[in-house]
Amino acid sequence: MPIRTFLKDNGVQFDQEWAKAHPVVQSLLYQKTVTPADWQDLFLWVYKINSWVEEGATQIRDTLTTDIDRYVKEAGARIRSHKTESLLKVYIKEWKRYFKQTNILPLPFKVIDGTTVAIKSSSSAAGGSSNPPEAADSIKSVMLDKWNSKIFEEMSEALLADALKLIEDERNGLLIDAQSVVGIRESFVALNDNPDDVLGVYRKTFERSFIEQTVEYYRNRSAEYLAEAGVLNYMVYADKKLDEEQKRAEKYLEMSSPSASRHMDKCVMVLVESFEDQILAECSTLIVKRDVERLQRLYRLIRRTRNGIETVLKCIDCHIRTEGLNDMRNNAESMATDPEKYVQQLLAMFDRFSSLVREGFCDDARLLTARDKAFRVVVNDSSIFKVEMSSKKGRPLSVESKCAELLANYCDLLLRKTQLSKKLTSEEIDEKLNQVLLVLKYVENKDVFMRFHRAHLSRRLILEMSADQEKEEMMVAKLRECGMPSDAVNKLSRMLQDIEVNKDLNSNFKKALVGTNNNKCASDAINIKVLNGGAWGRGGSEKIRFSLPRELEDFVPEMEAFYKKQHNGRKLCWMHHWSSGTMVFGTSNGGRFDLDVTTFQMAVLFCFNERAHEKISLETLRLATELPDAELNRTLLSLVAYPKMKSQILLCDLPIISPRDFTDSTVFYINHDFHLIKNGKIQLRGKVNLIGRLQLSLEANAEKEHEGIVALREFRVQEGIVKIMKMRKTITLAQLTMELVEILKPLFVPNRKIIKEQIDWLIENRYMERRSDDIQTFVYLA
């Protein structure tokens, strides 16, 4: 090592250099002022010794350690000798000073921290030792170690006890010097004897004792307080204490410690979980009372426990169910006939429950889920408003809530020209439609809603009763947005488009009538709509056979000829059960009324022309109109007993009118005294709408309607099962059921019965089979 030898004689002597450095080190150690020049020189001297003197670093370390040792001894003596002030205070004062120095003094000696390591490691490598190179302690850790071994180890227990005493004082409401506690904590944190677990000592001593003391402190007090003040007041107490402990922990505990949260966990355990049952017992009462403030407090307490929230969820669920159903039950009678009231009631309930969850439970996601679940039960409840779904063979398949139907009826009230829709502004209608969609989200049998909505829409469009075309379009868009099956929504939007197309067709037809035959009168009287069979359904049920009255029949060939010219390759199918018109009715008493009637009503009424004062039997009317019995009875009933009308167009010879009593020989005749009553006065002029609900449904009656829904559902279930089987090839019944429900959820929730029936059908028709060794597992047959 020629360089080393050269260095030996370079004239730098340790004693000489250290003599210059030593006073500065002393000043630093004893917190005296040091000029910036000296401070800088210190770096130079240390550097010089380290670079030019062999083993210089070790020598510096040794003398420095001696100095530190001496200082610490003196400080220790000072702490022990002070008897006027508390041990804690003196200690903290000394520690503060010393701790400050541990951040300053080691700075000039940073260089030897490194070199010491380097020399040690190279020497151990040269010696061929297999020991891993060991890093010498830095000056800072030397300082802390000295403090620890000379002072802290001896008095740590006493200090900890003092600190804990202070904290207890604070808990008891006394004012304490928080810095003392913080100082003690810092001492504990600084005492890291294990570099891998820096906070090891602190966690084993300070943190653990702190937590233990907390638990000890509250264990008896909380129970006493509860017994003394009652659970409601106890909740206030616990809430306050938890809050305080949270702040205390932030102040006095090292939050980076992995076990710092144990403190709050323990607090919750001792303050809340030990009395969880008593607190939770209050939950239902508070919910019923809607005591939002107390609920909030309860929620804040229970939120921290491990399982308490489960009970709260159960309470909420139970509350929403019982209150929701009670509400409905109490108003069942008026709600069943009044869709507006029904929907308003549902929405009011929903609002109430939502605000309860928001105000009482800060919209906790778990509670929102519970609210949704319970509300779904209320909406789909079939104990109050029920509809029995049965298949074509008349077997009952499921009992469902009438909600879907009532919602659709309410939509119709809003979108049709009605008293209600006239009363509301456009914005109000929008808002109400949005509310309908909100409730619709919870409805399970959405297919029923769509079917009724579609029936209402077709009726509105055909009878031209829509209040606002834009709203109709908006509604279709919204139904699409909220995830209604696209094939059903597509049909709605095609209906709207189709109606637009028809407006042109109708005006062309009128022009053609005037142009070809100069038939101005007919052109005024006749409107045609030719609809796309795909969008509107093929008339729903089978076409009703019926012979048009002569007055109308004449126009048919003309219309067909016109249409053929416009569109080649299409055939027309007349839907007289959907058509309607206006007639003028003149009584022999001089009355003159405009009657809005269906084509069937028209056909019956035209029979009375030329026989204005005769009585006509039902049999004759049937022969003349060729209407099927059910349809004829319905039509006649609407003419002899139209609801809410004092006097009727036709009279019949039955004392009490009921369609079941109509026989072939029942006779009907014109009521020449027909009049309207307005403001208590008899009117001989006016307009009457007799169409009413006659053209409401696509099907002839509700049972048929339900059959249609069930038939469609059966197909959907088959389709769904085959789709799943194709993908999975082999699947268990449970898995199949789960996936099927997932697929069909946007339409309806299939029950076990329908699934089982359709599986049997599919097995019978060899789409799939049961596995021979396990009958609950199915195999797909390609």
């Binding site: 009168c521 009287a525 055939k571």
Partner: protein, 108 residues
């Protein structure tokens, strides 16, 4: 024009009594006739997807804005256009009569 119009109206109203009389108390004022149209074809379901020709084919039913129309071949058989365009990729014959497929017309 206007004069002829007027005369026609008066003639008509004379011919057809627009007002109810003692003997004919009911007079038509307006009739809103309604019909459904369908393609005038022998077989009204698409032989490929088994869906009625008046409705969108299976594939299009699940699409939000599908444009599904009907196509006729020279053989006068009709299918959904989308179904047929899939079909002829494999076999350029009418699935019903095995004649070569030539489009005769399409209908919207």
């Amino acid at each position: 024009m206007s004069t002829t119009d007027v005369t026609v109206t008066s003639e008509d109203s004379q011919k057809k009594t627009a007002n109810p009389t003692e003997n004919r108390p009911f007079v038509l004022k307006k009739w809103n006739a309604l019909a459904i149209w369908a393609w005038d074809v022998e077989c009204d379901t698409c032989a490929i997807c088994r869906v009625h020709l008046m409705e969108e084919c299976l594939r299009c039913q699940s699409e939000p804005n599908a444009d599904c129309f009907v196509v006729w071949g020279d053989c006068n058989h009709s299918f959904h256009h989308c179904c047929m365009s899939q079909w002829i990729r494999q076999n350029n014959r009418c699935p019903l009569c095995q004649q070569d497929w030539v489009v005769q017309r399409t209908g919207k």
